[in-house]
Amino acid sequence: MQTPINPRDIRIHWLKKVGPLAGLGGMILVLSVISPDFLNTSNVFNVLRQISINALLAFGITFVILTGGIDLSVGSILALSGALTAGMLAGGMDPWLAILVSLTAGAWMGAANGVLISKGRVAPFIATLATMTIFRGLTLVYTEGRPISYDNQAFSMLGKGYFLEIPVPVIWMGFAFAALYFLLKHTSFGRHVYAVGGNEEAARLSGVRTDRVKIGVYTISGLLASFSGIILTARLNSAQPTAGASYELDAIAAVVLGGTSLAGGKGWLIGTLIGSMIIGVLDNGLNLLNVPSFYQQVVKGSVILVAVLLDRFQKN
């Protein structure tokens, strides 16, 4: 009784995926016409490097949002991890060890979110809002409100270096994307992430350990936030106590621009990458075009709105 897959279904599917890409394409087109510097190789790598931090955060948040959650604490985890790393480096610790410690700390912070949300049944918004405040406070306590500088050229290369002309952060972003894509698409954990977001009760009744899945996604998010904190610290040769403030909003915007639904259960990682690029290209373009500062926010908000609206419009 099986009817064959409908060609239109495929088209819709394709459109859904192509929506954000079309938005990005449009922006690139416009910018390359009005700003001759935009499509230089060097600027392309520049934009890619700039988005790497946001993209890493957004990748993690994609997992969280797919389960129907949200993570507002990533900016604070970024700052605390960065501060820890810089502090350890300044104290002369081996860079690899420092990285390991920081990543572990980030993963634990994420896991704490996950436990609060799954075992404590606290709404994700409020749980991560509270930990956002706590982790930021801890960063201030740890740094005493001042940047921590260190001097370690080898470590700095993680953020500043190039590998075959490609900026190292872009390579990290590529690796993270590939690994997470696989995790989401080809493993049972990935499937459970979608299941928990789609219908948590049904997932639980099917034997999915929903609590573990939730703890898992927040841990991933924390780990990636920590990783981006490390890269940022490497790039800046220092860690700022205020680093990453309100980064969560840009990261969430990237996820949603990429077509992932905030209700959970629906979305994809490539979309997030594209969403991140939209935001990066936008920021870059505003700078290249020297848009006056007060107008930048107006333009940025409007472009995001138009992108989302176009996407909706296309799908109908």
Binding site: S188, G198, R204, G207
Partner: protein, 504 residues
């Protein structure tokens, strides 16, 4: 007599698939017009077009002689069209009274201020009219599915619709409420209301309808006067071939070892002191009136809710079940009564739904083996004749009955020891029902024990080897196959039976 409602050549497609291929349908004043057909035939879709939920792609709709464009549920309501949809459409957080008058609250003239007392009083009398006694101040989420269905019925009655559509209204009701509903339908009929009645329960169709229209694959097969047709002909028209006897031949009653034993299962305020055991190959029927605690019993068994007390043995081994995962590992499976609420992942594909409980065995070091998953899904789709555009079809777009098959199907890939089926044939068409019955027999034949919860009394009586009846959360009586007659079971369910403490 001019028909109240006339639909001509109505067409509707979803994503390019024609679901309604030019359907003609009419409804006279004071008639009950039954609409029947297999799962996915397009019955609900036709009614949703009428209700202004889906825009039609072609055709005309005339209401009381005038052609109308029904663009929204509001327009439908203003034309006197009232619909009870197949899926419950209540706001769980609001009270019964608030739900009954949602969108049409009684307000003080000229002010948007609600007249609470008037609403509560009217709600009470509405509920009384259909013979239910639910406190209108209770919140809907606290009601059982059956009670919610009654609230929906009361709601649509209160709209004083001239055209009333009931899309499987009895699926969640027991005999008693069904009887009251039919009385209500008869009285509405005598007042001139036209009623479209959709059901998969053939005896109901013959009891209540004046005309029957059969829909198959989005086309009208035939419209007959009820008195001029019979069950066999109807089934043949629906399915396109002959189907004999609905309940399959019972296999010889040879039961094996005890597979599950339950002692003193309780949860305060819900159920108390449930005892039973089921042997390999045996089907234990669990009966009770609405709210008697059947679903609750199943939930406690499977670890969906925490029990206050109760011990469970599977194959003589004591098991600790604190969450569904434990139950699954102990060899239990559970087909829940609320498929949308907790049975399905509506936004995911047929394949993903079917494979969800089996991902561990389908994957190696966490990585899913795609081909094996696809093979599993295809196999189940074929075995259960699930009507779908493919294993990658989104489950939310399947018809109600086909969704139900997916819910059952997802458990069948593994070989469970005990299977709890809560209303497994709710909303399922006659051929699919038969498949499900055969499946149950095959599973018991393989040594599985089944706990069958069903409000469909004929189904329960003919499929069960023994019947346990609950009354207000306690075991009321226990019947062997021979004792389990309609009268005995109903008497026990209404509290008139001999009380039993132990039903092993």
């Amino acid at each position: 007599m001019e028909p109240y409602l006339e639909m001509k050549g109505v067409q509707k497609s979803f994503a390019g698939v024609k679901v309604l291929k030019g359907v003609d349908f009419s409804l006279l004043s004071g008639e009950v017009h039954a609409l029947v057909g297999q799962n996915g035939a397009g019955k609900s879709t036709l009614m949703k077009v009428l209700g202004g939920i889906y825009p039609k792609d072609g055709g005309r709709i005339r209401v009381r002689g005038k052609e109308r464009a029904i663009v929204s549920p509001r327009v439908a309501a203003s034309l006197g069209i009232g619909i009870i949809h197949q899926e419950l459409n209540l706001v769980p957080q609001l009270t019964v009274a608030e739900n009954l008058f949602l969108g049409r609250e009684h307000i003080i003239d000229g002010w948007p201020v609600i007249r609470w007392r008037r609403m509560r009083e009217e709600a009470s009398s509405l509920l009384e009219r259909i013979g239910v006694n639910i406190n209108p101040a209770r919140r809907v989420e606290e009601l059982s599915v059956g009670q919610q269905q009654l609230v929906e019925i009361a709601k649509v009655l209160s709209m004083k619709a001239e055209i009333l559509v009931l899309d499987e209204p009895t699926a969640a009701l027991t005999h008693r409420e069904t009887k009251t509903l039919f009385e209500t339908i008869r009285s509405l009929k005598s007042q001139g209301t036209g009623i479209v009645y959709i059901s998969h329960r053939m005896e109901e169709i013959f009891r209540i309808s004046d005309r029957i229209t059969v829909l198959r694959d989005g086309e009208i097969v035939s419209t007959r006067k009820t008195v001029e047709t019979d069950m066999d002909e109807l089934v043949r028209m629906m399915v396109g071939r002959k189907i004999k006897e609905c309940f399959p031949q019972k296999r010889p009653r040879l039961f094996g070892e005890e597979r599950i034993r339950v002692e003193n299962l309780s949860r305060r305020g819900m159920v108390e002191g449930i005892h039973f055991s089921i042997r390999a190959g045996e089907i234990l029927g669990l009966f009770g009136l609405m709210g008697a605690g059947r679903t609750e019993t199943a939930d406690l068994l499977f670890g969906v809710r925490r029990k206050d007390s109760g011990r469970i043995w599977i194959d003589h081994e004591p098991v600790r079940i604190r969450q569904p995962r434990d139950a699954i590992q102990a060899g239990l499976t559970y087909v829940t009564e609320n498929r949308k609420g907790n049975g399905l992942l509506l936004s995911m594909t047929v394949k993903e739904n079917l494979s969800l409980p089996h991902l561990t065995s389908l994957s190696f070091t966490g990585v899913i083996h795609r081909h094996r998953e696809e093979a599993l899904a295809r196999n189940l789709v074929r075995r259960l004749s699930i009507r779908t555009n493919g294993t990658k079809q989104q489950v939310g777009f399947l018809s109600g009955g086909n969704q139900q098959k997916v819910v059952i199907g997802k458990w069948l890939a593994r070989r469970p020891k005990v299977c709890i089926l809560d209303e497994p044939t709710r909303g399922v068409d006659i051929s699919a029902k038969k498949e499900i019955y055969q499946l149950m027999n095959r599973l018991t034949g393989e040594g599985m024990a089944i706990l069958l919860i069903s409000s469909d009394l004929p189904e329960l009586l003919s499929m069960s080897d023994r019947v346990l009846v609950l009354h207000e959360g306690r075991p009321a009586d226990f019947f062997s196959k021979e004792e389990a007659t309609r009268e005995n079971v109903m008497t026990a369910a209404t509290g008139g039976g001999r009380k039993v403490a132990n039903s092993h």
